[in-house]
């Protein structure tokens, strides 16, 4: 006690520990506000410069982290720098994980500030009211390159408002990737879904089950809704009304559910309910799976891994045929939007047009992952694309040409035959389709009940978005 009093007697000029703490804190705060920290603390991108020349404009782009890292490296370090120099604009491009694109977009909309160009992995229909209509540049590109791919139009055009709310940039076809040796050994064909349903048991017997996911992730969403098309179980009609609970659609959906249940019971293991987007890749690359449905990331990863036994045995095919049709979804539909609050709309528009006009380079650099939304961007259209893909040197030679067939004939947008509306968007985002299939496969619900409950929910979602005037 005495020493405490002594300290007090010592006068007010001595700093105590408490004082020091406070002052140190204030100083640290001041430094972090104004001082030693470089640009990153203040969110600037540095002075606008390119090769010692001041650039007069700035363009901020955000898109996903491409699964082919070399594409992003080329894009960031070569393409945008050259474009920026040519157009007197400093381009800053950010990449984020595709899972959080929508959350980041929502944050920018709420803040009414952010990037000029925003890329989405699927049509951003719920943001229609926040973006600038892009009919003008769509027309300009169409004049130069011809019409855009059907899948692109359905994904970016709103028939209700008659505007293009997004600019389609690229799409990725969704091929089947399979192990030829295993399929041959088991004597299974992938021509129709019935073939696969019959052969699944044999594949599992030889220790190489089928890998069609029913989990809360993008691969499952895409493949299961494609399965529904093949059996005629359409969720929407051309007028974008929800019709899965009626007539032929209902019958088709029930059949599709039964097919998947059989394939699971005979030819798959429980793993398919626990998958992330990477799981089918990993299981295939580990030599376990015989069949998977995925963009070409599996085949490309096999090639990059150096395991030639695996990659030479990995063949591509189109989606199996169902009794009604052979049709699949795009795996990725890259759509750019220009926000209403974008600061440099002119540069943004020019960037989009220029990129599409020169898409040949992007197609090659992405190792054929990104197909251009305007097929005419590659002179000669699908014919030239087929020749290009045929030149890929990986064995078996010519295996990527099927991609062209798939892109040309068997690729459509989610919500076929309608557009990709906010209704479809919500159905996809809340994993309703994998949920329906998984519940039937695990025996928790009968196909008829599952379709009925799905329809009821979907109708509710439809009413909600209709009231918004977006459907």
């Amino acid at each position: 006690m005495a020493d405490v009093l002594d300290e007090l007697e010592g006068g007010s000029s001595t700093l105590t520990r408490g004082d020091l703490l406070k002052r140190g804190g204030a100083a640290a705060f001041a430094v972090s506000m104004f001082g030693a920290l470089p640009d990153k603390a203040l969110g600037f991108y540095g002075p606008l410069k390119y090769q010692n020349k001041q650039l007069s404009g700035e363009l901020k782009i955000l898109q996903w982290a491409h699964f082919v890292p070399s594409y992003d490296q080329w894009l960031d370090n070569t393409y945008v720098k050259e474009w920026g120099e040519k157009n007197d604009v400093e381009v800053k491009i950010d990449h984020i994980n595709n899972a959080l694109l929508v959350a980041t977009a929502s944050s920018e909309v709420a803040a009414q500030s952010g990037h000029d160009l925003f890329w989405f992995i699927s049509p951003p229909s719920s943001f229609q009211k926040q973006v600038v209509p892009l009919n003008d540049i769509v027309q300009e590109v169409t004049r130069k390159l011809g019409p855009m791919a059907k899948v692109a139009k359905k994904s970016t055009y709103s028939p209700k408002t008659k505007t293009f709310y997004g600019f389609p940039d690229d799409y990725a076809p969704d091929p089947v990737q399979y192990r030829r040796s295993y399929l041959q050994e088991a004597g299974v064909s992938l021509r129709t879904w019935e073939d696969l349903r019959k052969g699944a048991a044999k594949l599992k017997q030889i220790g190489h089950p089928v890998g069609l996911g029913m989990s809360n992730e993008i691969d499952s969403n895409m493949l299961l809704s494609s399965l529904l098309y093949c059996y005629g179980g359409f969720i929407q009609d051309e007028e974008n009304r929800v019709v899965i609970g009626q007539g032929a659609n209902r019958k088709g959906a029930i059949e599709a559910l039964e097919v998947m249940r059989d394939i699971y019971r005979n030819g798959m293991s429980d793993e398919v309910f626990a998958w992330t987007a990477a799981s089918n890749n990993q299981a295939f690359l580990a030599g376990r799976l015989s069949v998977a449905l995925n963009a070409i990331s599996i085949a490309r990863s096999a090639e990059n891994s150096g395991n030639t036994a695996l990659s030479d045995d990995t063949w591509l095919a189109s989606i199996p045929r169902g009794p009604v049709m052979r049709l699949g979804n795009e795996h990725v539909m890259g759509v750019f939007v220009i926000w209403k609050f974008a600061k440099n709309k002119e540069a943004a528009k020019k960037y989009l047009v220029d990129q599409q006009l020169g898409y040949r380079e992007h197609f090659i650099r992405s190792q054929y992952y990104n197909f251009p939304a305007w097929t005419g961007a590659i002179k000669g259209g699908f014919k030239t694309i087929r020749e290009m893909t045929a030149q890929d040197t990986h064995k078996p030679k010519g295996k990527y040409t099927i991609l062209t067939t798939i892109a040309e004939k068997y690729t459509t947008n989610p919500g076929h035959p309608g557009n990709t509306t906010p209704v479809i968007d919500e159905i996809f985002q809340t994993w309703m389709i994998p949920q329906m299939f998984a519940e039937v496969a695990q025996g928790k619900s009968s196909p008829a009940d599952a379709v009925k409950s799905f329809n009821r929910k979907a109708q509710g979602i439809y009413r909600k978005w209709k009231n918004q005037g977006l459907v």
Partner: protein, 312 residues
């Protein structure tokens, strides 16, 4: 006393200093920065969120048309929502029960000195030290559908499961529920242990001595002396554990994405799927707000109970 002090100061500052001495002035002054900050950074956005839940706002837009309580009733009608609500309760109560028991036991034994104590304590603290998103990614790998080390050990190592069709820790609903509860408990346990240790350190030594005299050691001491005295601190740890678990988004989002087939959704993750990813912002806000009365009721009940159980 005051006069003596006052005579040392300049007259002009006397009134100011006297005011500062008055606890009615000083108290609010000291609390003001905290309150103002919280009101601005939490209160205003919260008010806005309540407003959003009563509108049909979409796509990140912070404006919408008035719909009253429709969002709340529509949410309740969806069985995925009801599952999310139930799961929030299950995850929280189950994981915190594990945490409470574990922390009580661990802290009791960590009080005494023994060789290797610092190292063992380090191991126990590690789950809390890992940033939750990254630690959960570690668990995602441990539970992986194909490469799970647990399944390898059970299958190839011990031979108790079929290696070609092992248990899917994230693929079957009941296993997935269990996995989420385990990860929640794993990361909160060190936090609770630290709080319990603080409480134990505060038990005056007279109580310790009295216990020793009465012959209460080991388990007996744990049950009859330590646990009752720890009750207030246990309630604190439980309260924060409940709050940190029920309002957590990252664990379920990273581990299961709400799967399999939406059976592990929580209110936080479901509101994110609906409000952000699907663009139905008003609905998402409403779903989130269901959390508030739930936790508020628990909080008030526990604090009331805590006051009554306070050991004098």
């Amino acid at each position: 006393m005051e006069a003596h002090a006052a005579s040392r100061r300049k007259p002009g500052t006397r009134r100011w200093r006297r005011a500062l001495e008055d606890r009615r002035v000083l108290a609010p002054l000291l609390i003001a920065p905290a309150v103002i900050f919280i009101l601005l950074v939490v209160g205003v956005p919260f008010g806005w969120a309540i407003y959003l839940s009563l509108t049909d706002s979409i796509g990140g837009s912070l404006k919408g048309n008035w719909v009253g309580f429709d969002n709340f009733t529509n949410a309740w009608a969806d069985d995925n929502f009801r599952k999310a609500f139930r799961n929030t309760l299950i995850f929280t109560l189950a994981s915190q029960a594990i945490v409470l028991v574990g922390a009580a036991v661990l802290s009791h034994y960590l009080m005494s000195d023994f060789r290797g104590k610092w190292f063992i304590r380090l191991l126990i603290i590690m789950p809390w030290a890992a940033p939750v998103a990254l630690g959960t990614l570690g668990w995602l790998w441990i539970f992986d559908s194909l490469f799970s080390v647990i399944n390898w050990t059970l299958g190839h190592g011990l031979g108790v499961v079929d290696s070609s069709d092992p248990p899917q820790w994230l693929g079957r609903p009941n296993l997935a529920l269990l996995s989420v509860i385990v990860v929640h408990a794993w990361r909160i346990l060190p936090f609770a242990v630290i709080i319990f240790l603080a409480g134990l350190a505060s038990i005056p030594s007279e109580v310790d001595d009295a216990a020793k005299i009465d012959g209460a050691t080991g388990i007996k001491k744990l049950l009859y002396v330590t646990l009752p005295l720890q009750l207030p601190i246990a309630l604190v740890a439980l309260l924060f554990g409940i709050v940190f678990t029920a309002a957590d988004f990252t664990v379920v989002y990273v581990l299961t994405q709400g799967g399999p087939f939406n059976s592990t959704q929580m209110l936080t993750t479901w509101s994110f799927q609906i409000g952000i990813n699907s663009g139905s912002l008003g609905e998402g806000a409403a779903i989130s707000l269901y959390l508030f009365p739930l936790l508020a009721a628990v909080t008030v009940a526990m604090l009331f109970f805590a006051k009554r159980a306070q050991v004098s």
